[in-house]
């Protein structure tokens, strides 16, 4: 059957004749391959269904060229029609290979219950299903929080099982390696804040207060938010993808069966790394933001650099600084939690890993914004 590729094969042909009164003889010729358009079965089916007096169908394949699955699916359709019409099929005329493959295909019957029909769900039941899913998701999150908390407790008692090398590597990955992107973004945010502020302040001739705006905005909240969002996109997604891939490869199962808690081993070092590095990155981002403001102040508004720095120093209080750091520590926990949670919830396929990473970023950013709102409100109440 493996005729060389370059010969152009004859097109598939089907000729139906009636050698005997009750027999329909189908003569197959030419090459019957998947890559070629095959003749329609309608004609044969039509003659099978219309003529009442056909008792059996026979085949003549003496002029049949190449064939592959194309021929087999064609024949299966004809056989189907025959069995519906109660017509006998004489397979003797078919090539041996075809007969063997058809027998093989029929050998293992369809497993009962394997076939999945499309199920249409009633509105109420789908609504209920969603409610159940939502409560399950909420329970998952609470479970995860609890487990992480217990793991932290274990850490304080000195019972954590992660490897110190992993922690150091993670600290490098989410700290040092994030510096370039954090520099760029915070510098630009500082520039933007100063620029937008300058246009308004110029109206009152109060350009020098640009330093105040930039310093307070950056240090109190923007530095922390910007690093938080950068880390959610950079590190949170990476955590979810790493842990998700481990889930796909059954590596998490391997940890569990070895008696190592995946939360202890994978989640805890990631959280610690981010809780340590986020505030440090935040301080760095604050500095870069102030430098950005300085560039606009000196370059555009002709403020003396020393004057600008003095204003910045005067306006910044330690409270503002601590509030900024508190934000960033909270964001560190949130980003690490979102990444690890989505990773642990990951399904077992490649697209599940992609979904886990996306969902880690979304969860991270949303929780950062909500947390900022809550903290801002709390500070207001406390009068800070």
């Amino acid at each position: 059957m493996n005729v060389s590729m370059d010969t152009t094969p004859a097109p598939p042909r089907l000729l139906a004749t009636r050698p005997a009164a009750d027999t329909l003889l189908l003569e197959l010729s030419g090459s019957w391959r998947l890559t070629e358009p095959l003749p329609e079965t309608d004609e044969v089916k039509g003659s099978i269904e219309s003529s009442k007096n056909i008792g059996q169908i026979a085949f003549d394949t003496t002029r049949l060229g190449d064939w592959d699955s194309g021929l087999i699916i064609y024949l299966m359709r004809i056989f189907d029609a025959c069995s519906k019409a109660g017509i006998q099929v004489d397979r003797k005329g078919l090539p041996e290979g075809v007969r063997r493959l058809m027998t093989l295909a029929a050998e293992v019957p369809e497993r009962k219950g394997a076939k999945r029909g499309i199920q249409k769900e009633a509105f109420l039941s789908s609504l209920g299903g969603r409610a159940v899913d939502a409560s399950r998701a909420a329970k998952d999150i609470i479970d995860f929080l609890g487990e992480s908390f217990v793991a932290f407790g274990g850490l304080l008692k000195g019972k954590a099982t992660f490897r110190r090398a992993d922690l150091l590597l993670l600290i490098e990955e989410c700290g040092l390696q994030a510096l370039p992107i954090v520099s760029l973004i915070s510098l630009l945010v500082g520039l933007i804040l100063a620029f937008v502020g300058a246009i308004q302040l110029k109206l009152f001739g109060a350009q020098v207060y640009v330093a105040d705006i930039v310093a307070i905005a950056m240090v109190r909240v923007m530095g922390a938010i910007m690093t938080g969002i950068i880390m959610a996109g950079r590190t949170g997604a990476a955590f979810a993808a790493q842990i998700g891939t481990m889930q796909v490869n059954e590596e998490i199962d391997a940890l569990k069966t070895m008696g190592i808690s995946p939360v202890d081993f994978l989640v805890l070092p990631r959280m610690i790394a981010l809780i340590i590095m986020m505030p440090l990155l935040c301080i760095y981002a604050d500095l870069m933001g102030i430098i950005g403001g300085l560039i606009v102040g000196v370059g555009m508004l002709n403020i003396n650099p020393i004057e600008y720095l003095n204003r910045t120093q005067e306006t910044l209080t330690l409270t503002t600084f601590w509030i900024g750091l508190f934000h960033s520590a909270v964001f560190g926990v949130l980003v690490a939690m979102a990444g690890c949670l989505r990773g642990m919830q990951c399904g077992r396929s490649a697209s599940d890993v992609g979904y886990a990473a996306t969902s880690a970023v979304v969860t991270g950013i949303v929780s950062i914004i909500i947390a900022t709102a809550i903290i801002t409100f709390m500070c207001e109440v406390l009068g800070l």
Binding site: D68, R100, L101, L104, R111, K115, A350, D352
Partner: protein, 255 residues
């Protein structure tokens, strides 16, 4: 159809960087052969398979399919040759985000002009051939390892390839499933006249299906025996080959 070369390998060297795995490999796979590539672990069986199918380039040498050297051909010709292959990877390598039906349908949609209805019929036929009738809508993560392997075979067979490559087909299968897979391999050769190349070290399979083989020797770094594996077992002068084919039980000629 015996005697016509399907694959001809000449003076092939395989290496990873400076580390030479095998050198001076010369062999011919005939049309309709079930050709076994055997050898101990780490001898480069799977690497050889990767070179044959065009995934890894050889350090030296030529691999001919017909008159065309796979590694000297331009990308288009190489693709045309590769389209005649079907490959069953060690763990199935099914695309995990697609159902079994979608996995098998993809090459059909890509390379044939079949209507969606015909594609469905071909998919059903291929799944039935590997004993998975009715599992169209399952995802790879929902079926067992053995079923994944069979589904991988169904995908490899989707376009009725001239040459089927198997990487460790019986690894991870229970004896009965592994036997069924062997039977299926023989059936494919008989009915579709497919040429089959198998990388394996499962002795039972080797003797059950192989009619031609090469033995890659780790120490000699080349082919030290070739031919019908049953004949090699019974009268190979090479002690390593004999040891391998008798599981190290010297003097025993039983499987």
């Amino acid at each position: 159809m015996g005697g016509i070369a399907a694959i001809l390998v000449e003076d092939l060297d395989m290496a990873y960087g400076d580390f030479v795995l095998m050198r001076d490999l010369n062999f011919t796979v005939n049309r309709g052969d079930v050709f076994i590539i055997m050898g101990g672990s780490g001898c480069g069986k799977s690497t050889l398979l990767k070179i044959l199918v065009g995934l890894k380039s050889p350090a030296r040498g030529r691999v001919f399919f017909g008159d065309i050297d796979l590694w000297a051909a331009d990308p288009k010709t190489r693709e045309a040759i590769q389209r005649r292959f079907g490959i069953l990877y060690q763990s199935g390598a099914l695309w995990s985000s697609m159902t079994l039906a979608e996995n098998i349908a993809l090459p059909l949609q890509q390379y044939t002009k079949l209507t969606p209805g015909q594609v469905r019929e071909v998919v059903a036929l291929k799944l039935a051939l590997v004993g998975l009738a009715g599992f169209e809508d399952f995802y790879p993560s929902e079926i067992s390892g053995g079923m994944k392997k069979r589904a991988g075979l169904a995908r490899a067979m989707a376009l009725d390839p001239d040459i089927l490559f198997f990487d460790e087909p019986s690894a991870g299968l229970d004896p009965v499933s592994s036997r069924l897979l062997d039977d299926l391999i023989l059936e494919l050769r008989e009915s579709l006249k497919t040429t089959i190349v198998v990388v394996t070290h499962e002795l039972a399979s080797i003797f059950a299906i192989g009619n031609n083989s090469i033995y890659l020797d780790v120490e000699e770094k080349t082919i030290t025996a070739s031919g019908d594996p049953r004949k090699l077992r019974d009268d190979s002068p090479n002690s390593n080959v004999h040891k391998f084919l008798t599981r190290g039980e010297e003097g025993s000629h039983n499987e």
